[in-house]
């Protein structure tokens, strides 16, 4: 078990390192840098001023040096200075993190609340109209563009109820009720989309388990259907579901970008888009690494869980 954990950790670290190189290179592939953007906001460009500015920001150095500098900063805990805001990147990002984490968590809650029961019902009532309806409903969520869903929700509310959720962020300390209302809709929108995969896995996993011998034995023994399902089948069916929840968390980030933009929530995802447009490298690099860490961490945890739950892994190394 110990070697297993260690192995996975080393691999995770190496992967992160690889990602840092990829994101560093990719960003610099994009034409234009912060200096060009700054001049764009000034409405003109002057080559001499540009040189001086590049020197001041340290971006006239060769890329390898800049990359090593960045690594050094990360290791010492310094996340660099935002090019756009002239402030430490962490200071700019910090207030955004809880918003995104809260939205992600709430979304996952909704995803599970919608997906698991739907999957169970669908499996139990396999191939009935209800099954088809649920599958269509679930697939529809997966098919709609996240930003469109958000737009339609807001516009529907305005047109039919003449009401919109607060479109400027309400802090939970200021007004908890309003804050929850504000998060409810975007979390539902994102959760609905994530629930599709969870529903599918729950359904298929349950179907497979229900075919297993020990279930049929339990049925043969005369235990009533419902107890059989809930006690035996569900327990074992949930293992792959847990995996999927971890994977789904990664896909969540994509949906969060547009949802935060449409619902105007000051989160990390929305900020990321702006930072990319501004070529604010320190901010983008750190944010992407942050999401990468979250993804890898959740994969790692899932792997651990597997290691704990599945004896084959535990003793197989």
């Amino acid at each position: 078990m110990k070697t297993y954990v260690l192995q996975r950790l080393v691999i995770a670290l190496l992967t992160l390192l690889g990602m840092s190189v990829v994101i560093f290179v990719l960003l610099r592939l994009a034409p234009g840098d912060i200096v060009d953007i700054l001049f764009a906001t000034a409405g003109y460009i002057s080559p001499s001023e540009k040189q001086a500015l590049m020197k001041e920001l340290g971006i006239d150095r060769p890329y390898v040096i800049q990359y090593l500098d960045w690594l050094r900063q990360v290791v010492t805990g310094d996340l660099g200075k935002s090019y756009r805001y002239d402030l430490p990147a962490w200071e700019v990002i910090r207030p955004l993190v809880p918003v995104t984490l809260e939205l992600a968590a709430l979304s996952m809650v909704f995803a599970v609340l919608i997906g698991v029961p739907a999957g169970v019902v669908s499996a139990v009532r396999q191939d009935t109209t209800l099954d088809y309806l649920l599958r269509v409903f679930s697939l529809a969520g997966l098919s709609m563009p996240a930003f469109w869903l958000g737009m339609v929700i807001i516009l529907g509310l305005v047109s039919w109820f003449a009401w919109i959720p607060p479109l400027t962020y309400v802090s939970p300390t200021k007004d908890l009720k309003l804050h929850l209302i504000q998060f409810l809709l975007p979390a539902l929108a994102v959760g609905y989309r994530s629930s599709a995969l969870i529903m599918r896995i729950t359904r298929s996993s349950l179907l497979e388990v229900m075919r297993e011998d020990y279930i049929r034995t339990a049925w043969a023994k005369g235990q009533t259907g419902r107890i059989v399902i809930w006690r035996h089948a569900l327990k074992n069916a949930l293992l792959p579901v847990v995996t999927v929840i971890g994977i789904e968390f990664a896909f969540l980030i994509g949906g969060l970008v547009v949802t935060e933009t449409v619902f105007n929530l000051p989160g990390v995802a929305r900020f990321l888009v702006q930072a990319i447009l501004w070529r604010d490298y320190p901010v983008v690099q750190n944010l992407v690494m942050f999401t990468a860490i979250v993804v890898i961490l959740s994969n790692l945890i899932v792997d651990m869980l597997y290691g704990v739950l599945d004896p084959r892994v535990r003793y197989g190394g």
């Binding site: 003109y44 402030l87 207030p95 400027t168 933009t261 449409v262 105007n264």
Partner: protein, 536 residues
């Protein structure tokens, strides 16, 4: 709010009678207190460093923190030398035949950190701006350096007097100093600090700037005009998504729209949903124009450039792209939006302003003369910025050009590369927007049409017109000057240097409880919020 109105009424009466400066005539008595939620379409670009930026996204939210020497009367929509009123300067006068400009500054003005304001700050600011030899500090980006090309020296003979010595008479200097782009920086803080915080003399102090989210101001209790500002606080909210911010305005979560961002169709929709909204059509000092690289074929040929100008139906564009929210005009804004523009009658003599069918015929003839054969359309690449307002306009223009035999493909250029590309001349033809910080011929003509100016993207250079520009800059008789400016505009359009398609109009929207916020025919110059009050 109501309980505090009474004592303020008394003070206000006294203030009104002694300070005949910025206090406008009121039909209602202003109340003190309240907060306004104001729309921002994006976060501040360079914080409060107005001198290092040229975008409304910096000027509009940063203005409440600062003051100018003089300003355009906040209560009047039109801006001209006649509407200039004092700000940090109480009195001013031209001397020596418009060669020296003297300002007499207010006393007892304090910076937000308690330091006293004096002529030292003014000299500091302008020496820095004009990059004079003894400049005390340097701006890392200085877009309006050329506004002060004619300033020989800035002197501060005593703490409350400043003298601008010019190399030659230039009446326009006063207008440029009145522009929202010319606030006064403090001499005792480094200019770079304005990118993150603001030490100003203005009616509001920065309370908190949550990056990407909002900007909070609180009232400056020591403001040099007693009784102002009326409002307790300002809350600028960043909403990037267009539909979301319109919805927020409609729902009353925002009180004030962002200048220049409300189209006519959006305004109609808003009015229908909320009939009590106050919507004011105003000029914006922003023009749609066509830049053509006159150093490279095919636009080095005057006939081809003229053909482009003839081909574009100005009124059609205004209707198609702006649903009527625009006015035709040449380089300077026409009345009532500006004071230097050409009349409708004069415009009709310019290329592209007659009957569309006739104009397109003329364009085809010109192209034929330039060697374009029918059936073999002229293929060009049109560039524009990758922003919706640009792209819509460009699409219309491409359609127009198609009808006279010019086939243009559209290439969208990202913001980061636009200015570099245009300055280098790496393009053939482009659909462009230009914003003017002040409705002044010097500010416009030198920047966009002078030989060798970096923002003269068309590389237009006419010695005679340069002479005319220099001449009007020194002309002291306003009537003569107007005639000269009109003559210049005519020449520019006839050379198709940078055909102006229209001057945009904004349908500035506020909720009815927002009082005394008069939009100007220039988006950059009415943002101080000093006299604004809330009737809630």
């Amino acid at each position: 709010m109501r309980s505090r109105a009474l004592p303020f009424l008394g003070v206000f009466a006294v203030v009104l009678s002694t300070f005949a400066l910025a206090a406008p005539a009121q039909s209602q008595t202003p109340k003190s207190g309240g907060t306004l939620n104001i729309m921002l379409r994006e976060d501040l670009s360079q914080g409060f460093a107005i001198h290092e930026s040229s975008t409304i996204s910096t000027v509009f939210p940063a203005a409440p923190c600062l003051n100018n020497l003089v300003q355009f009367d906040p209560a009047k929509a039109i801006e001209s030398t006649d509407t200039i009123v004092g700000d940090l300067a109480e009195k001013w006068s031209w001397q020596d035949n418009y060669r020296n400009l003297v300002f007499f500054l207010r006393k007892n003005v304090k910076w937000h950190d308690g330091h006293p304001f004096s002529s030292k700050d003014v000299k500091f600011t302008f020496d820095m701006l004009r990059e004079g030899p003894e400049a005390p500090a340097k701006l890392r980006i200085n877009p309006r350096k050329d506004w002060y090309a004619n300033v020989e020296a800035v002197e501060a003979p005593d703490p409350y007097t400043v003298v601008f010595r010019l190399k030659r008479p230039q009446p326009s200097l006063l207008s440029m100093i009145a522009s929202g782009y010319t606030p006064i920086y403090a001499a005792h803080v480094p200019p770079a600090s304005y990118r993150t915080s603001c030490v100003g003399t203005g009616p509001f102090k920065v309370k908190e700037w949550r990056k990407g989210e909002y900007l909070d101001y609180v009232k400056n209790p020591d403001y040099f005009i007693k009784g102002r500002p009326y409002l307790d606080a300002l809350h600028y909210v960043v909403i990037v998504e267009r539909g979301t911010r319109t919805a927020a305005l409609q729902a009353g979560q925002l009180d004030v729209a962002f200048p220049g961002e409300t189209t006519k169709a959006a305004a109609e929709q808003l009015k229908k949903a909320v009939p009590q909204l106050v919507i004011t059509p105003v000029g914006t000092a922003v023009t749609d124009n066509i830049i053509m690289n006159s150093k490279k074929p095919p636009f080095d040929n005057l006939k081809v450039r003229l053909a482009v100008s003839y081909a574009i139906d100005r009124k059609g564009l205004i209707q198609a792209v702006h649903q009527g929210a625009g006015v035709p005009g040449a380089a300077m804004a026409p009345r009532p939006y500006g004071v230097w523009g050409m009349t409708e009658k004069d415009l009709l003599t310019l290329p592209g302003y007659g009957k569309p069918a006739d104009m397109k015929d003329k364009a085809k003839k010109l192209l034929a003369e330039a060697g374009v054969k029918p059936g073999q359309p002229l293929r060009v690449e049109m560039v524009t910025r990758a922003i919706a307002v640009y792209v819509d306009m460009a699409s219309f223009v491409i359609n127009e050009l198609k009808q006279v035999g010019i086939e243009a493909t559209l290439k969208q250029i990202e913001t980061a590369q636009w200015h570099a590309m245009a300055t280098r001349g790496d393009y053939q033809i482009g659909a462009n927007l230009t914003g003017l910080g002040v409705d002044d011929p010097d500010a416009n003509l030198y920047e966009n049409f002078a030989c060798g100016s970096p923002r003269n993207y068309s590389f237009y250079c006419d010695e005679q017109v340069m002479k005319m520009i220099d001449q009007q800059s020194q002309e002291l008789d306003p009537r003569k000057r107007l005639a000269q400016v009109i003559a210049i505009q005519k020449k520019i359009e006839e050379a198709a240097a940078r055909p102006v398609l229209d001057h945009r109009i904004d349908y500035f929207t506020v909720w009815p409880h927002v009082k005394n916020l008069t939009p100007h025919h220039n988006i950059y110059n009415f943002a101080r919020m000093q006299d604004v009050w809330s009737d809630k």
